[in-house]
Amino acid sequence: MTYASTVSMKVNGERRDLEVDNRTSLLDALREHLHLTGTKKGCDHGQCGACTVLVNGVRINSCLTLAVMHDGDEVTTIEGLGQPDNLHPMQAAFVKHDGFQCGYCTPGQICSSVAVLEEIKANLPSHVTVSLTERTRISEAEIRERMSGNICRCGAYSNIVEAIVEAAGTRA
């Protein structure tokens, strides 16, 4: 009986072939196999959002999904969004608005917020969307609602919302 599988993913634009234990989460495949440790493990149980990455453009808790389920998928992690000398606008907005303190929830917050703006653009409603027949608009309430799966125990929320509003290029 074999417990391992091979899986091939495109991670931050680069093809990566991996042999992983079938029980390996996508999160551990990124952190322990590919050494992309920007994606954080806060709970390993889908409770905190620190492990948020983009899979085929959609945000996902990478601790709640097995690596073997992602053969052929495109994964974007915080390392793929931008680099220290070449920040993604959302990363730059987080620095400018001090949208973090310890930094441990931060990669998850940033990946999540990039996806949130896409979700709003795609007119996907949320719990606080006022009308289902009108276009969903970026607002602080929408951002707070949609970001609520990303816990920040340092409590940078007020600044994070400002950063996202700025990155959205919209006055909320």
Binding site: Y3, D21, R23, T24, D28, R31, E32, H35, L36, T37, G38, T39, K40, K41, G42, C43, D44, H45, Q47, C48, A50, T77, I78, E79, G82, Q83, P84, L87, Q91, A92, F94, V95, K96, D98, F100, Q101, C102, G103, Y104, T106, P107, I110, E140, I143, R144, E145, M147, S148, G149, N150, I151, C152, R153, C154, G155, A156, Y157, S158, N159, V161
Partner: protein, 734 residues
């Protein structure tokens, strides 16, 4: 350097860099995922193994036997080290509960084994195969029940459990107006986002540990004691820490297990505490029961104030010092405070952000609101009336600087306090709206702190200290301090933290980190300035460091040139005289909150928050503000959701993960405003700064409780204020 007399004018006062809103110098690393936390250190030449811990499933008793055969035979397993096989280990000086070793179980989820395997998945699976036979003993887990048997504890950091001035009983009974109420705060969890984690590696008898620690030297010393080795043999590093809030002040089991597992296997071993293990394995803030009695004359002057607090801890532990602020915050000739400690067999109680003051003010600042109402006074007016400029227990001891009144007045003006209505009188649709206020108060502690500063021949200044940055902004404010002292720009300063090879610093805790650690850097820079002046033959009295140059009279030399080929080094430790004894040093704030309470469900939503803080010089308004909004956020959690639920039969915290221990999320937190009063405190340090990281938490939760009362007329004295405690007494829905 010893700080013994109030600071005079010094280079920090130039405020070219210090006091400026400089963005975090580690911001790019953190936002791009390049900052390396404990579990993430990776050397491609090393072959790491994974350790997975197992926790006790009883709260008290002994382990009779452990069957590890199946675990040892599981795929990939290299070693199973159990608390029995390792034998007795030492106990760190600062640990109450032992972390590992021996057959005694002191609390639920105490570490009893670590399984080491080639992969994380293998280690985790094998850990579940260990069979344990316990001899369970009965324990005490309910504070309300244990309260009767509580005893007077020994002093806490030099502070006695009881104080008394004048005739409290007589004055209280004679008072024209009085109140006597009891408040409760539950056990609370730090729940920092990064779980405790360590990687350990042995070279012969030398141990290297990457960990997540607020206090490098405390951890290093206690790890040495636990393992029975020489402290000098341990190299400990913790350059980035994913939050601590007091939960990473003291050595934890992950470091011990990693070290032992690495020894057993000869491999570098990584151990992280699984989130569901963390709450009961580590420490928490203990629950309190607090009785507050206040008597006043008709004009509102307090004549008697008494605060008693009961809390529990494991044998050998200490009390939650919830009465401390009541010794200092308000005037009143007749006063008493008392703390009693019950023995509980729950996991270890210990410091969490603003230990003592946070839960103490949760009670006291409701009591003040209640008393003001009885007196028919505005709660701000009542606080101002009873302000004191001296330690009320020792009137010969003045405060070094105290502007609580300024915080309250400015806050009232900015927040629109005058619009506050009578309880239950403001309604918007389905929402009852209320405003609440509370005073913030937290002592300013100082700790010895060392640093080494190197000037290179490229003109770059590098600071080395074992200080930690737990999100507080230490990297940035230390760079600012060195830049100001050496007359260079911030980008000409490198900061290297969290490494036991560097001078021992204050570390991060008790809101003493920023002021103490920057003072240590100040002291080291004074030494470096002297070395530069000496090398240049300048008179050190009139030498000026500015714009990357050193000037004396009409001579001027680039700093880089002054360094010489080898560079220059300055190293020193800031030590403290008795200014904290002769003068009471504290930080002050006023918290204002507006809440809406749903008329139908009793759900509370925080709508607006303002904190006005008086905390000496603010070294960096960006990072200081972030400390305060973060603390205000935690205060929302403590007021409305956070409670470790105790299973009083089995003796553990039931909601031991991030799904069931509810902390605030984005949707709970509105825009938060912070104002710092423009002030300095020359008694506190050459930086003239004080702490802010805990002040921001002190009082917020009571301000929320008071706002809920103002919105609904329902007074809840039992935290957290969940809707079930409010809904029964809400006014009828019209």
């Amino acid at each position: 350097m010893k700080f013994e007399t109030p600071a005079k004018t010094n280079p920090i006062d130039n405020l070219k860099v210090v006091g400026q809103p400089i963005h975090r110098i580690d911001g790019e690393l953190k936002t791009t995922g390049r900052a390396m936390y404990a579990y993430e250190w990776h050397d491609p030449n090393l072959h790491y193994a994974y350790g997975y811990p197992l926790g006790s499933s009883i709260a008290k008793g002994r382990i009779k036997s452990m069957d590890v055969a199946a675990a040892e035979a599981a795929p990939g397993v290299m070693s199973v080290v159990t608390t029995l096989s390792v034998g007795e280990l030492g106990k760190g000086k600062l640990n109450t509960a032992k972390l590992f070793g021996g057959d005694e179980i002191q609390h639920y989820h105490q570490a009893i084994a670590v399984v080491v395997a080639e992969t994380f998945e293998q280690a985790r699976a094998a850990a579940s195969l260990i069979k344990v036979e316990y001899q369970e003993e009965s324990g005490t887990f309910d504070l309300a029940e244990a309260k009767m048997s509580a005893v007077k504890p020994k002093d806490t950091d030099g502070a006695p459990p009881d104080t008394a001035v004048g005739d409290f009983d007589g004055a209280f009974y004679a008072a024209a107006v009085s109140m006597d109420e009891t408040y409760t705060t539950p056990d609370q969890s730090h729940s920092m986002m990064e779980p405790h984690a360590s990687i350990a590696l042995w070279h012969g008898d030398e141990l290297t540990v990457w960990t997540s620690s607020q206090m490098i030297d405390w951890w290093r010393s206690d790890l040495a004691t636990t393992l029975g080795i020489d402290k000098e043999k341990i190299h400990m590093m913790s350059p980035f820490i994913g939050g601590g809030f007091g939960g990473k002040l003291f050595l934890r089991s992950d470091a011990v297990l990693a070290a032992i597992a690495a020894k057993a296997t000869g491999r570098p071993v990584k151990v992280a505490l699984p989130r569901p293990l963390l709450v009961n394995n580590t420490t928490h803030r203990p629950a309190t029961i607090q009785r507050i009695r206040i008597g006043a004359d008709k004009s509102g002057m307090i004549t008697a104030i008494g605060h008693e607090s009961w809390s529990g801890d494991l044998p050998g532990g200490g009390p939650e010092t919830a009465v401390m602020q009541t010794r200092l915050l308000y005037a009143g000739e007749n006063r008493m405070t008392a703390m009693r400690l019950a023995e509980l067999n729950l996991p270890e109680g210990n410091a969490m952000r603003a230990p003592g003051e946070a839960p103490g003010l949760m009670a006291l600042e409701i009591a003040i609101d209640e008393m003001a109402e009885k007196l028919g006074l505005d709660p701000i007016e009542f606080r101002i009336l009873n302000d004191t400029q001296v330690d009320p227990e020792k009137p010969e001891r003045p405060f070094s600087h105290r502007n609580l009144v300024g915080c309250l007045k400015l806050g009232a003006e900015r927040f629109g306090w005058n619009d506050r209505k009578k309880p239950g009188a403001r309604r918007e649709g389905n929402w009852l709206i209320g405003l609440g206020v509370a005073a913030g108060f937290r002592n300013n502690l100082v700790m010895p702190s060392g640093a080494r500063v190197r000037l290179g021949n490229d003109g770059v200044v590098n600071v080395e200290t074992d200080m930690t940055d737990i999100g507080t902004g230490s990297y940035t404010i230390i760079a600012q301090t060195a830049a100001e002292m050496m007359g260079v720009a911030v980008d000409k300063v490198g900061v290297h933290l969290g490494d036991s090879r560097f001078p021992i610093s204050a570390g991060s805790g008790g809101q003493f980190g920023a002021n103490s650690a920057t003072s240590g850097v100040y002291a080291a820079c004074v030494k470096l300035r002297e070395a530069v002046a000496m090398r240049l033959g300048f008179n050190s009295d009139d030498v000026v460091f500015e714009n990357g140059e050193v000037r004396s009279g009409n001579r001027s030399v680039p700093l880089a040139a002054a360094a010489g080929a080898e560079g220059l080094v300055g190293e020193d430790t800031m030590e403290w005289g008795d200014l904290t004894d002769t003068h009471q040093q504290s930080t002050f704030g006023a918290h204002f909150v507006e809440v809406g309470v749903d008329l139908a469900t009793g759900e509370t939503r925080v709508r607006r928050m303002l904190a006005v803080c008086a905390a000496g010089r603010i070294i960096n308004p960006i990072t200081a503000r972030s400390q305060v909004i973060g603390a205000m956020t935690m205060g929302v959690g403590l007021a409305l959701f956070e409670e470790l639920a105790v299973d009083t039969r089995r003796g553990f915290f039931v909601n031991h993960d991030l799904a069931s221990y509810e902390v605030p999320v984005h949707a709970d937190i509105p825009y938060q405003e912070v104002i710092f009063l423009d002030e300095t405190d020359p008694m506190s340090s050459p930086m003239k700064a004080k702490g802010v990281g805990e002040l921001g938490l002190c009082g917020v939760s009571a301000a929320i409780a008071n706002a809920i009362y103002n919105a609904t007329g329902v007074r809840v004295r039992d935290y957290p204020i969940t809707l079930d405690k409010v809904i029964g007494d809400l006014p009828e829905v019209a």
